[in-house]
Symmetry: C2
């Protein structure tokens, strides 16, 4: 595979951004460090303010830096949460391997904002997956260290969970999975579909996302041992806050 | 969870973008459809050209639309590839469930650009995972339908694969995994770490990414049955081209 040549006539703001990026990726500039300001870049390179601003904008758009109003541009603090898709198969159980990305594997406390529970007519794709036109919906937002990191919306086939605590804000000890078990509908198989995209305005607001930060969208379906779909959970994650880990055998 | 209120004094370009987005998400405007142009928006809403441009820029930044030079802005064609993390456990094997996202599960032909093979000193994080300071590296780019969709860089501990076909551009029948088997190093466990972020300039060039398109980064480590790491593969995916699927048991 041929390298994309770095043209010698690459615009100056690009070359400045490339230099700052290298210093971040090498670890010379660390999480929370202040980047050189517009005035410093103007003086160092003999450029206009607009050019300095353009250079910083490149890093902000790449999610490597974040502006703080009136105070400058900072390397973005990134202490991602390690989310295990399949703990049962996890490398921790069998291997001595090292993860590539540094992330917090211990349970930092998640707080859950007020849960919203409603009975609704299912959107077409939800109805298709759950084989149910009517669903109970549980919407919540999760935060870690007072920072919102995830929106989650779970859908349950109404005819299967009607009358159970799944339809109440407080689902009781063990949560919705214990209640599904009580109903004889224990999840046995999971499928997760993962995508990434830029957030919509509602997601940007609820997750308080800085510019240039994509979201990861995980759609997880839980099935009983006989293949009955019992839950569809759509999770929208701040991509800067998460590393997803999946372990499986050959 | 409380909704983010949509303020009545939301700027006009936002409201226009919201309307166009709704028409795309509802399916009224489809992949490849042309969005109303700047002139049409100016006439319909009585706004300035800059405002019309701002409205279209919102959708372009969200990855829902793509500009074509001199021709307008189009709903982005999206025929994602479904990538199975663990085929052995796949829902196809046991379930009757439906996927939430429409994607191509059949094998569309992947083409591989010229492979670059080199012996290199490992970067610190690669050396840590592979427990090896010297590595053989295989870099390649994959395309589907003549569109580049993935960059992949595989690292192998040099002392384990020295002299094998893994160090040649052509690895022979069955590829690198068959050669690892020949060496008594068959992969038995896999760990995948998944993140999303905005691309760097080299990735933007090689993947020909339009603005506002994040990449998914998958770092996969292959281990033998005794836990020896034999390959680290860093894949950088055009997020608009992929749905990742993982299947596992409770």
């Amino acid at each position: 595979m041929s390298e994309v040549p770095v043209p010698h006539d690459s615009p100056i703001y690009r070359r400045i951004a490339d230099g700052l990026r290298s210093r971040i990726l090498s670890g010379e500039l660390r999480d929370g460090d202040r980047l050189p300001g517009e005035n410093a870049l103007m003086a160092d390179y003999g450029i206009a303010r607009a050019t300095a601003r353009q250079a910083l904008a490149v890093l902000i758009n790449e999610g490597l830096a974040v502006p703080k109003r009136g105070s400058g541009v900072y390397v973005r603090l990134f202490k991602p949460i390690r989310r295990h898709g399949s703990r049962r198969l996890s490398r921790e159980q069998w291997g001595q391997g090292h993860p590539i990305w540094d992330a917090d594997t211990r349970g930092r406390p998640f707080t859950v904002d007020e849960v919203e529970v409603a009975r609704e007519r299912a959107a077409e794709e939800v109805a298709g997956v759950l084989d149910s036109g009517e669903v109970w919906v549980r919407r919540r937002r999760y935060s870690v260290d007072a920072r919102p990191v995830q929106l989650a919306t779970s859908y349950f086939p109404a005819r299967l969970v009607e009358g159970s605590a799944i339809t109440s804000p407080d689902t009781g000890p063990g949560g919705v999975y214990a209640r599904l078990r009580d109903l004889g509908l224990s999840p046995a198989h999971f499928t997760e579909e993962v995508r990434a995209r830029m957030p919509g305005p509602r997601e940007t607001g609820l997750l308080d996302l800085p510019g240039g930060t994509p979201v990861i969208v995980i759609t997880r379906t839980a099935y009983t041992s006989t293949g009955v779909p019992v839950e569809l959970n759509e999770m929208v994650l701040d991509s800067a806050a998460y590393v997803l880990q999946y372990d499986f055998d050959a």
